[in-house]
């Protein structure tokens, strides 16, 4: 018997309309855990670099995490993996909500989509009964609307539905997959779903999920619940408000947006408004949120209520989370009422809440600078807010300039030319980033921005305070109950870390220390993504309930696999390396690993080189960031080495122009 996991994947061939239930190899669970880990393995085995994102041979994998469906609080993530049309690298966006546990209860760990359906379809998974159903009547429908219509036609309100909107259907490079309370937004995976002709995947399951050692497992769950309670009553002092507690940043609860609105950038990630927040705005925004927010809501099996149902006047209700509360508002220099209103359309269209507002602000900046002209915007309204609605519409329909913008700022700038590239200034690996511009280089963040393969800072940071505390007293108080550290040396680093003087940024923490800190932070995210745990209870906040010391116990008691910290760390290194191997094979090299040039004002080129060198070495990668033969061997990934050799990966140091895809390169060769 398999514990925690079901041991079965669903293989759906959309071209031929074939569905198979396939038993998985339990040894893969030991080596790669599940979720992201096993996804990376499947992509490695089955999607070589010649396969373009919109090729029928690209896979779109919906995976429940290894522990989803067990009673572990907050373990509800679906990890969606594919090759991204925007970055042309491996994308592994996650969504919370209710979908992953439902898939487990239906009896599957993953749904693997391949091929392309000739007509728009949706997939209906109801325990053993799996069907590919016609979705032509759902064409053009909103993502939320689609979910409701499918529940109605199946007469199954308990079905969990992951759906795309118009953006996914039209293969917008930043299209999301929406799932009620949540969405998998980053990397344009909704576009791949649209390309495959799949409007939605609906799931309903009524089967048991077993755990190997029940009493021990429940004890661990109870400890976590107790700690969450304690932690909610004991916010961390000395850090900014959104970092004091657990959960995703509690954006649906807070009224005070002084910090975000005055520290994050407005417009096309350029303008800082230092004295923006005042009493009038505070009052007005509080009123907006209070009148539109119907209820605070949680994901499956979690008490944190990080999301909310929002009912903008005259518009249908939708569900919102986190920072998309402000991204549209700030991109448009507008108010919260505008932001919550346009987010309703954006959710139905199914687009990413980070990239989309930036793409629109970028277009308007080009217009202002004369690089784009009236001819590019026929019929665009004169008012700013109207322009954003108009642009959003053009983008998701890929009409006129919208067709260009739908590829994101990086590709759009290339196509537009005339110096537009300078305005696509906030991307890493061709992917739009948080609108944040700072002063002094932070060496820890430098490494995370450069090397994070989820290409999103919030998906690698956490655990370690973002800045040093002012007094020794505060520092000592902080480290006192900091039992989540993998090793006490992290406490010492933090105690020694000063805001000014010898032991301050950018030279302290030293490159060696930065490596360890970043490695710890990243490791926690990778564990979460394999187990299906919400980052808000684990890798993202300070002092979380799940950490490197109790995770091995959860895995052991849950799955029956013997696990300790060392073995877990080794497993994480293995599939983390496999993610990199997938990207290496697709041409990712050192030159791609850098933050936006203007992310910090004060840069230190020599130090930055040293940081990257030291980190690559620490990780067992060569100067180009490619895992070495020895590293691969140590991790049991000799098959990766063989493939690298065959493809001449080690002699390719990334000289080829960035816009070429691997397939094009091969054609020339």
């Amino acid at each position: 018997m398999r514990y925690a996991e079901t041991g079965f994947n669903l293989e759906v061939d959309l071209t031929r309309g074939n569905i198979e239930r396939v038993e998985t190899d339990p040894r893969d669970t030991e080596l790669y855990l599940g979720g992201l880990g096993t996804n990376a393995k499947i992509l490695w085995d089955r999607v070589p670099p010649e396969v373009e994102p919109f090729s029928p041979d690209n896979l779109l994998i919906f995976s429940a995490g290894l522990l989803c469906g067990t009673p572990a609080t907050g373990c509800n993530r679906t990890i969606v993996s594919t090759i991204s049309p925007q970055t042309q690298l491996m994308a592994f966006s996650m969504m919370g909500g209710f979908w992953a546990p439902e898939l487990k209860y239906a009896g599957y760990d993953k749904v693997i989509l391949r091929g392309k359906s000739p007509n728009l379809v949706y997939i209906w998974i109801n325990n053993d009964k799996v069907e590919i159903r016609d979705a032509s009547h759902l064409k053009g429908k909103g993502a939320v609307e689609t979910a409701e219509l499918i529940q109605q036609e199946l007469k199954e309100p308990r079905a969990q539905v992951a759906a795309i909107g118009l953006a996914g259907e039209n293969r917008v490079y930043f299209a999301s997959i929406e799932q009620g309370r949540s969405s998998a937004s980053r990397g344009g995976i909704g576009a791949v779903m649209g390309d495959k002709g799949v409007k939605a995947v609906a799931v309903r399951g009524t089967r048991d999920i077993n755990v190997a050692r029940p009493l021990e497992y429940l004890e661990l769950c109870n400890e976590v619940l107790e700690y969450i309670k304690w932690r909610n009553e004991h916010p961390v002092p000395g850090v900014m408000a959104i970092l004091t507690g657990l959960g995703s940043p509690q954006e649906m609860k807070v009224h005070d947006e002084k910090w975000h609105t005055e520290n994050f950038m407005w417009g096309n990630s350029r303008v800082r408004r230092k004295d923006f927040w005042n009493e009038d705005i505070a009052r007005e925004w509080a009123k907006t949120l209070d009148t539109m927010r119907t209820r605070l809501i949680s994901c499956y099996n979690c008490p944190m209520t990080c999301g909310a149902t929002i009912s903008p006047p005259g518009l249908p209700t939708y569900m919102m989370k986190c920072f998309s509360k402000l991204t549209y508002t700030m991109a448009a220099f507008a108010d919260l009422e505008f932001g919550l209103g346009i987010a309703q359309s954006a959710t139905e269209y199914g687009v990413d809440g980070f990239s989309t507002p930036q793409v629109m602000a970028f277009a308007l900046e080009l217009y202002e600078k004369g690089i784009l002209t009236d001819n590019d915007f026929p019929g665009m309204p004169a008012d700013n807010e109207g322009r954003f609605y108009w642009l959003l519409d053009r983008i998701v329909r890929r009409e006129g300039i919208g067709d260009v913008l739908a590829n994101g700022t990086y590709w759009a700038a290339k196509q537009i030319g005339k110096g537009a590239e300078e305005y696509a200034h906030n991307t890493i690996k061709k992917h739009e980033q948080l609108p944040l511009k700072l002063s002094m280089l932070n060496p820890i963040y430098f490494l995370m921005y450069s090397t994070g393969e989820k290409i999103n800072i919030t998906q690698i940071e956490g655990q370690f305070p973002q800045a040093p505390f002012l007094t020794m007293e505060e520092k000592e108080a902080f480290v006192k109950d900091w039992f989540q550290v993998p090793d006490d040396k992290f406490k010492q680093i933090f105690l020694d870390w000063e805001p000014r003087g010898e032991k301050s940024m950018p030279f302290y923490p030293t490159p060696e220390m930065c490596c360890e800190i970043v490695d710890w932070q990243e490791r926690m995210h990778y564990i979460d993504d394999a187990l299906g745990m919400c980052a808000g209870l684990s890798s993202f906040p300070l002092k979380p309930p799940y950490h490197i010391h109790n995770y091995p116990k959860f895995i052991s008691a849950g799955t029956g696999i013997d696990m300790d910290e060392e073995k877990l760390t080794q497993a994480v290194r293995r599939y983390r390396t496999l993610v990199r191997a997938n990207n290496t094979r697709r041409g990712m090299r050192r030159k791609d690993e850098k933050p936006p040039a203007d992310h910090w004002k004060k840069r230190f080129p020599e130090l930055e080189e040293k940081l990257l060198d030291t980190y690559y070495q620490f990780k067992g990668w060569n100067k180009q960031g490619i895992p070495t033969k020895e590293t691969l061997h140590e991790l049991g990934l000799d098959y990766v080495y063989e493939d690298f050799e065959k493809r001449g990966v080690y002699s390719d140091n990334g000289g080829a122009p960035a816009q070429e895809t691997s397939a094009e390169k091969d054609k020339e060769a």
Binding site: P71, Y105, G205, R207, D208, I209, P214, R295, S298, T309
Partner: protein
């Protein structure tokens, strides 16, 4: 007259306004009733179910009550504060008219047993937002043996038709059987 006796009344107070729809209550209830205890979980087997329509702001935790062999003659449908609830939304019965409160495979009825043997109902313990709270109070009750349902029914028939007529009917039926 019977003497006064103490009876413990157990109440779970459901504050549906506080429910966030997380279904933690379903998780723990089904885990608690697994054999062996906590060895598996499956919300479809829970004795509490959340009727949940987030876009309509409908969140109703409902507890499994008695099994009923036949559904009611008619169904009810509530509208509260402008929100229309699904048919029979507030009913606790394990009833042929719907699939909740039944074992998913065998269809056997499920009934909340207030987590027999535990200090406190586990759904309450796992509901961390206080949508479910537990109260116990003592009440004095008359200690009279309640008449059996069949007795009441027969007595009323005997009254209506007369004792002899009634006895004959019983005799005719037992000959046919």
């Amino acid at each position: 007259m019977g003497e006064k006796k103490k009876k413990i009344i157990k109440t779970i107070k459901i504050d549906a306004d506080k429910c966030n729809g997380c279904r933690a209550c379903e998780v723990i209830c089904s885990a608690f009733h697994a054999q062996p205890k906590y060895s598996s979980n499956n919300p479809a087997r829970s004795r509490i179910r959340i009727i949940r329509y987030p876009l309509k702001d409908i969140y109703v935790p409902v507890y499994a009550g008695e099994y009923t062999a036949a559904e009611c003659m008619g169904r009810d449908k509530y509208v509260v504060d402008g929100k229309e609830y699904e048919e029979c939304a507030f009913c606790r019965a394990s009833c042929p008219s719907r699939d909740i409160f039944k074992e998913p495979d065998s269809g056997l009825p499920l009934k909340c047993d207030m987590c027999e043997g535990e200090d406190e109902p586990l759904c309450v313990k796992w509901c961390r937002v206080d949508a479910l709270t537990y109260e116990e109070r003592e009440e004095d009750v008359e200690d009279v043996e309640a008449p059996k349902e069949l007795d009441i029914g027969l007595e009323s028939l005997a009254k209506k038709y007369g004792a002899q007529e009634f006895m004959d009917a019983v005799a005719r039926m037992s000959m046919k059987a």
